[in-house]
């Protein structure tokens, strides 16, 4: 199950969702039962939920004092754009919690940890999905994230922010698409759209810290996930197969100068006011 194509073929043959085929793969891999694995993923979902609550506290401040406490501004009356407002607020909350040494689930990394929770919990509040449905969406996105990690990278130092927030956005788009009943092909298209639209994004942390611009990129990432899932669910087909977009991301990452790969030298990190 190295490629998205292999995932799709296996799911098609078994006549099940990508989440289900991912769960079956993990059962073989670790020898655990379906119930054990679902319970493990449910515990991760619970940590994600707590990290949203933790991050929404207005009092939070990071060690540098530069970030924290901002996501609380985005909820309530200040929310003007429907699900995007909530998704963005929750993504920022988790990213702020992370910057402030809160407990989070790396998904796929700590720097991009807000995107999946932002997508999942805003969708749950809007459409009433059960936790079980969210868990199965997480299995689908985990299988897709694993394929990205195997074919390209999910490390900002290797592939730039496209590899961290880009991968998280692709995983979140896939999760949303499965939740809203998209076909397996649509789920993979959703991932491909999100990756495609975040291609080339550099990793440029100010002072090398997981703060600026990382926490705001989580909001950008979840908005890309929503847009990608919206396209795929409406039946817009991605003209480039997901595996090819993943390989393009790898090639773009390889071509990125090291100053734009988590060294804190270029991009936002080089801005005068951030010195």
């Amino acid at each position: 199950m190295r490629t998205i194509h292999e995932l799709l073929s296996a799911a098609k043959e078994a006549g099940v969702t990508l989440g289900e085929i991912a769960l079956r793969w993990q059962m073989k891999e670790s020898g655990e039962t379906e119930a054990q694995l679902k319970a493990r993923m449910q515990r991760r979902l619970e940590v994600m939920r707590l990290s949203v609550q933790d991050g929404l506290s207005p009092e939070l401040r990071s060690a540098s004092g530069k970030v924290g406490g901002q996501s609380s501004l985005m909820v309530g009356e200040n929310n003007r754009f429907g699900i995007l407002g909530k998704a963005g607020a929750y993504a920022l909350a988790v990213a702020e919690s992370n910057a402030c040494m809160g407990k989070i689930v790396a998904a796929p990394t700590a720097g991009s940890c807000g995107i999946l929770p932002g997508a999942l919990f805003s969708a749950q509040e809007q459409s009433g999905f059960t936790d079980d449905e969210l868990v199965m969406a997480l299995f689908a996105s985990a299988a897709i994230g694993r394929s990205i990690a195997l074919q390209a990278s999910v490390s900002g130092a290797e592939g730039g922010c496209q590899a961290e927030c880009g991968s998280a956005a692709g995983m979140a788009a896939a999760a949303l698409c499965q939740l809203y009943g998209g076909s397996n092909e649509a789920v993979c298209d959703a991932c491909a759209f999100a990756l495609m639209n975040m291609l080339g994004l550099v990793c440029d942390p100010v002072h090398g810290l997981v703060e600026i611009p990382c926490i705001y990129r989580n909001v950008g990432g979840v908005s890309q996930a929503l847009a990608a899932a919206q396209m795929a669910l409406a039946g817009v087909r991605c003209p480039i197969p997901c595996d090819e977009v993943i390989c393009a991301m790898k090639a773009v990452g390889d071509a990125m100068p090291s100053g734009l790969r988590e060294t804190g030298e270029g991009g936002c990190a080089a801005c005068r006011s951030m010195a």
């Binding site: 515990r43 809160g102 689930v105 703060e211």
Partner: protein, 222 residues
């Protein structure tokens, strides 16, 4: 890599490499020492040296040395906990050659008088490599059940130790051997499938020419 490596680990932020990896290095070093640490000299190299405060790398290393796991929120307050427990530490800039950018050198004293020197690197995603123990090359991840055995470099030692492991019905996944000099002190890092029994550990510890054997259990899945 399995699906819980992708959606995971559960960890205290902000960085899988600079925080979670650092905490794991601290905890593994504590387990290698085998007693309560009372003092640590902490040498930071590369990116660890430049950004440790903003990433809580110091808190994570100290917390790990005090036995805290990567998802333990007490990592935030580990420097205060260290004070309460009478654990002291000193951070300095380590000057290393050909080391990974996120590398730390720990010199730790235990309350039983034991001392250990560990060099380890955090290689991304919370994954680590223990490069060396007391100057002997190691190269293990701490993920699997691992036996670390120091012994006098003599004929047949590798065969006797692997024989003991096999007799206990265990399978060796990887094995790395390094010696200071021919006939000098040698070390073996053996990663195994399954759990090492106290009986096997004491059997190996009591073998002729074995100085010391430590068992690092496989990390429990959450």
């Amino acid at each position: 890599m399995d699906l819980f490596d992708v959606i995971g680990p559960v960890m205290v932020g902000p960085s899988s490499s600079h925080t979670a990896g650092a905490a794991r290095i601290g905890k593994i070093t504590r387990n290698l020492l085998g007693s309560q640490p009372v003092h640590a000299e902490i040498g930071l190299y590369g990116s660890f040296q430049k950004t440790y405060q903003g990433h809580g790398t110091d808190k994570a290393l100290v917390g790990g040395l005090l036995g805290l796991a990567v998802d333990d929120l007490r990592l935030r307050d580990s420097l205060e906990i260290a004070k309460e427990q009478g654990f002291t530490y000193h951070i300095y800039k380590a000057d290393l050659r050909n080391a990974h950018p996120n590398t730390v050198v720990l010199d730790v004293d235990g309350d039983d008088g034991r001392h250990i020197n560990v060099q380890a690197s955090s290689i991304g995603g919370g994954e680590i490599v223990v490069n060396a123990i007391d100057g002997l090359e190691a190269g293990f991840s701490g993920h699997e059940s691992t036996l670390i055995i120091t012994y006098a470099d003599t004929k047949g030692m590798i065969a006797s130790i692997s024989g003991a492991v096999s007799a206990a019905g265990m399978n060796i996944a990887t094995m790395k051997v390094f010696r200071r000099s021919a006939g000098g002190e040698a070390m073996m890092a053996v990663e195994l499938d399954g759990v090492v029994s106290p009986g096997l550990l004491s059997f190996i510890s009591d073998m002729k020419n074995v100085y010391h054997a430590v068992y690092l259990p496989k990390e429990a899945s959450d």
